[in-house]
Amino acid sequence: MSGLLNALFLALLVILAVAAVRVRDLVGAVLALSAYGLVLALTWAGMGAVDVAFTEAVVGAGASTVFFLATLLRTVRTEQVRLPRARAASLAAVFLLGGLLFLATHEFPSWGDPASPPSVHVSPRYLRLGYAETGAPNIVTAVLADYRGYDTLVETVVIFTAALACWVLLGRPKA
């Protein structure tokens, strides 16, 4: 059942992504992207990545949409009707990249394999000893806030820099 649900979500994701790229009305495209973010959060919750799903629902489906709509309010809301430039070259690049990646999937471990390389290297140690070493029952929290605490600390510097860049670009509000 969960495999069927996963397949359904993935199909929805492709449809919504195509809609977000194809729709000429930019508000419509942004709302399709928002729906894409919501389905993405559901997909991740289904995969067991609940922490990431929460973040995506708040940030991807919520905050990003607000940013996009705020931008559109200050600018235009339609894409001009014209064929994309250098369409053949773009499609050739897309198909070349897609073909190479498709060939690479042959080497990947089969999906959900508990013995796949990413699952046997460091993470079993975190799972076994994380609670004893950090006291956090949720091991994702333990990794984020303890084992990789500096990573998370510097992440706030990234956000601060981005906020600073937006402030420099847009200036203070006139009112």
Partner: protein, 126 residues
């Protein structure tokens, strides 16, 4: 035939991520509208996050949340999702929003000067 089906069932997830990534890539290279390029970038980034998260999935596994039984060494790692990609991708999502915010701020700035989001119109007015 059944072998082929089993092969596809173990890999169709990866194929969908590649497809999503290519949709984003196409929007970035082929569309002349700058906002569409940002939307494409967003789809591209989320496709990569989706791929990383899928490496943490384990068949029959549950959430990586443990109880006091962990102190006695009663945790079976094969039955819990891999928590490392989750933590890394939380960081990636935050960086994604930061890049999105700066990209949109640059777009507003471009629009103020050139009154358009279309690449060729902006090139004419440069």
């Amino acid at each position: 035939m059944t072998e082929l089906l089993a092969y596809a069932a173990a890999r169709y997830n990866y194929w969908v991520y590649i497809l999503l990534m290519l949709i984003g890539f196409y929007a970035m290279v082929a569309h002349g509208n700058l906002l569409k390029k940002v939307i494409g970038m967003n789809i591209f980034q989320t496709a990569i996050i989706l791929f990383f998260l899928s490496t943490s999935a384990k068949r029959g596994g549950t959430l990586p949340i443990v109880g006091p039984e962990a102190l006695a060494g009663g945790v079976a790692p094969a039955q819990l999702m891999n928590p490392l990609p989750h933590a890394l991708m939380l960081t990636a999502i935050v960086v994604m929003v930061a890049t999105l915010g700066v990209a949109l701020a640059v777009l507003v700035k471009i629009y103020r000067r050139y009154r358009s989001f279309e690449e060729d119109v902006i090139l004419d007015r440069l």
